[in-house]
Symmetry: C2
Subunit: 251 residues, 2 copies
């Protein structure tokens, strides 16, 4: 960016609509030339949508990364989340698991798409998932839902032999909690994450997960904005491919 | 249906997941040949999705009407809800309204699509909607949100001269409340509904709304199921067109 004579402003919304609003107002006032946004709670109604519309009206290029606000037609660059959820689930089915739990985030678009991938994997194998094996959380209920899952496993309230986690952070939390309570990974419970974060590669973790080409995504996003500013033509959206990364958290 | 040797079972979920589950279990146990479903709270996670998957696995034709569960790839027959929201909003813009409120349902897919249509209409006219003019409700908060809207209008907390309502029932409720409090329709407030229900045609109402070909939709849904059963081939999905019906609730 700097090479091209642009400077970067970074702002964090803390996944919170009030903070997001402040960021957007600040950026509009500072006369920014382009915006890359990672949507806040993309699957619940966002009271700030009109701000995004304002960027569009002022012809300020705006790109959404990772998640999308489905109500607006913003261009996006994102991982193929349906494929990610599908791969994680299919991998466990191929390993012979029948009872596969899912822990997913329900207030963002990515969580919904990864869940769709989970459903598709079962359907393509002509199997049926069990509703009671699906744990959904939102930003506020995250910890209580994760702890509930752990408790259900420990008390044998569910008989799952494997679990697909929304992301590596969730997988990491689950693994640590389960191990502390005497559930061996992967012998008693196989765990798959999604997004190949640093957490998946810690020495005592070694998590099977799906790839998430963050740097590529960042590079593409920056190029998208530069190209859109300089050509004056909105560049096309792009869905990035993903694949499974086999490590040792699955039996 | 009867002509073709089939009988009809009708079940209502009261827009409630527990009731929906009971219906689905009952139908699976009775060995039904096909299912037409109007999804329950289609924009929040539905713990009964696995039941729908079970129908598919057992090769029982299943069609969703009106709303859709986006996570599953069920075939559907539905009104073009984006177009409906777009037409209702565009009609008001064309009449010269600038400050147009929206009251929409946020826990179903139709509400989200109609809102998308509202956004699109502003965008296509190169105008920006105002976040504070958008009122979203779910099944539980409906009445309190509607009353809040009425209060904001009466106390002049918002300056909207027109409102797009999720459906005619909402429009009817709003009109009656506003009129009782001295706000004249359409002189002080223009109102557009969506779905051309019986409520829109009452003598003292005469609501401008969008068409909703319910009978056609029902007929197409029945034919879809019959054809899918008899040909063994899943028939294609269909989006039905809609148009604006001008009456006298808009100035």
């Amino acid at each position: 960016m700097r090479e091209n004579g642009y400077s970067l402003i970074l702002a964090s919304t803390n996944n919170n609509h009030a903070d997001e609003r402040q960021c957007l107002e600040m950026m509009l006032n500072q006369g920014i030339k382009g915006l890359i946004v990672e949507p806040t709670k993309s699957n619940v109604y966002n009271p700030n949508l009109s701000y995004y519309s304002l960027f569009k009206q002022r012809n300020i290029p705006i790109l959404s990364i990772n998640a999308q606000y489905e109500e607006l037609n913003l261009p996006y660059i994102a991982i193929d989340d349906i494929k990610s959820g599908h791969l994680a689930t299919k991998y466990l089915i191929d390993k012979g698991h029948e009872d596969i739990a899912l822990i997913t985030k329900i207030d963002d678009n990515q969580g919904k798409l990864r869940m769709k991938g989970y459903f598709n994997a079962f359907e393509n194998c002509n199997k049926v998932f069990k509703s009671e094996y699906i744990y959904t959380y939102d930003t506020e209920s995250k910890l209580s839902v994760l702890d509930q899952f752990v408790e259900h496993v420990v008390s044998k309230q569910i008989q799952a032999s494997a679990v697909v986690c929304y992301n590596d952070q969730i997988a990491y939390y689950i693994m640590k909690k389960l191990e502390k309570l005497g559930i061996a990974i992967p012998n008693d419970m196989s765990v798959v994450g999604e997004d190949n974060s640093v957490l998946s590669k810690l020495e005592d973790v070694d998590l099977t997960t799906t790839s998430h080409p963050q740097e590529l995504l960042g590079e593409k996003a920056a190029n998208w904005v530069l190209n859109t500013i300089e050509t004056g033509k909105v560049q096309p959206s792009e869905l990035l491919d993903t694949y499974i990364i086999e490590r040792s958290s699955v039996k």
